[in-house]
Symmetry: C2
């Protein structure tokens, strides 16, 4: 019997996982084969980002294809809360990417890039952002991949808030309560984070009419991406 080497300091990502088959993208296989130089007889952890975690041993690996044996599938429980952040992408996309990475590490369910009146960026590259999310998910060993939805207008976004979801928008202007003290009894949360110029007065009104409450994220003046990270952390902490 050959020696099995175990890699468990990070997880891999699969499109689908079943008891007898793991389907990966060619890109993931290429990365495992060429960059990490993983060889057969390595036992790895693979998640599908939908709650499945497979422990599996590689039998064959090449530039484009991979085969596994001894697949054991574990079901990882979902977070005890559901967080959706609607956030204006930053002018410097790097900052937005950091938000995605950190929010994934801390724990977030869904991200929607929103276009607001003062938005400095109206286009994103979903494929690139998706890769950042997957990398952060694997690195932080999470079995649920945050969903990145299509970019959309602020008005359309706030209009679609489900009834059972508590909505908040970060606003420095008036005497808003701290998000930590405003969390309702539901565990479905949706937080709106504006661009560097903030939400317009009209957007604040529209948000309030759609059931979003204005909240403070603390005394500090935070950049957009920091506000997104801080809001994610405040909500994650509430459930810890």
């Amino acid at each position: 019997m050959s020696n099995i080497e175990i890699i468990d300091e990070f997880w891999f990502y699969a499109l689908s996982i079943s008891a007898d088959h793991i389907e990966m993208t060619e890109e993931e296989v290429f990365h495992m084969f060429r960059v990490l130089r993983i060889i057969p007889d390595t036992r790895v952890l693979v998640t599908d980002g939908k709650g499945r975690l497979a422990h599996a041993t590689i039998t064959e690996i090449g530039k484009k294809s991979i085969a596994f044996t001894d697949i054991e599938v574990e079901h990882i429980p979902q977070y005890s809360y559901d967080l959706h952040v609607g956030i204006a992408p930053t002018k410097n996309i790097n900052r937005f990417e950091w938000f995605l990475e950190k929010a994934t590490e801390i724990g977030i369910g869904r991200i929607t890039p929103i276009i607001t009146e003062h938005s400095e960026r109206k286009h994103i590259r979903p494929d690139r952002l998706e890769k950042i999310i997957v990398a952060a998910m694997k690195q932080s060993k999470k079995a649920y991949k945050p969903i990145l939805t299509d970019i959309m207008n602020f008005e359309s976004f706030v209009a679609q808030k489900p009834m059972d979801t508590s909505g908040y928008f970060a606003y420095l202007g008036k005497n808003s309560g701290h998000l930590k003290n405003e969390l309702g009894t539901t565990n479905h949360h949706c937080v709106l984070i504006g661009p560097e110029g903030g939400f317009s007065a009209n957007e604040c009104l529209v948000a309030e009419k759609s059931g979003f409450k204005s909240v403070s994220l603390g005394k500090s003046r935070l950049r957009t991406e920091t506000a997104g990270i801080v809001a994610s952390q405040i909500i994650a902490m509430h459930y810890e």
Copy 2:
């Protein structure tokens, strides 16, 4: 009388501020003059990073020198808490720089880069890191500049914890209480954040002997720089 234009969306940094003189670095002056193209008769906000905030009108500005008039000095109260983070610089210095920027935005008093057993980086460029801290302080309109101390060994660092400071070290291993529930009655806090490989067993013992308590930062597995940001946020929130 000439028209005075006001810039208040961010602050400038001065080495010293008094009622009749503001001393700036040539670099700051050059940046104001060449990059931002600020002209005389502009009223700006300038902080010395030690609690002084000057409202002042520029009378002359060139590549290297600047002169002000109508200087009004305001004293900004200090934070209600004092946070010192000892953190292992990351292999990719970019990640460490992000920690510095975000911790400055959220609110931190002092940062000490530490060298630990599993450290991947033992050298930093303080001048470069200092610039990141100053930029974040100006952008987030803070009148107190976090102090970046010299890099030092883990053992020397933990040995110098003052008696009146509560010490914590982020540790995933054992059943540590969440930092938010472990904050003592003092408002002086010192948090240790290890490298990607974590603290060694010996370092944990040394930290405990020196009065540092092992704490959890939550359920998620966080990168070093994220752990630093999250710890800063947990402590800032405690005082909000």
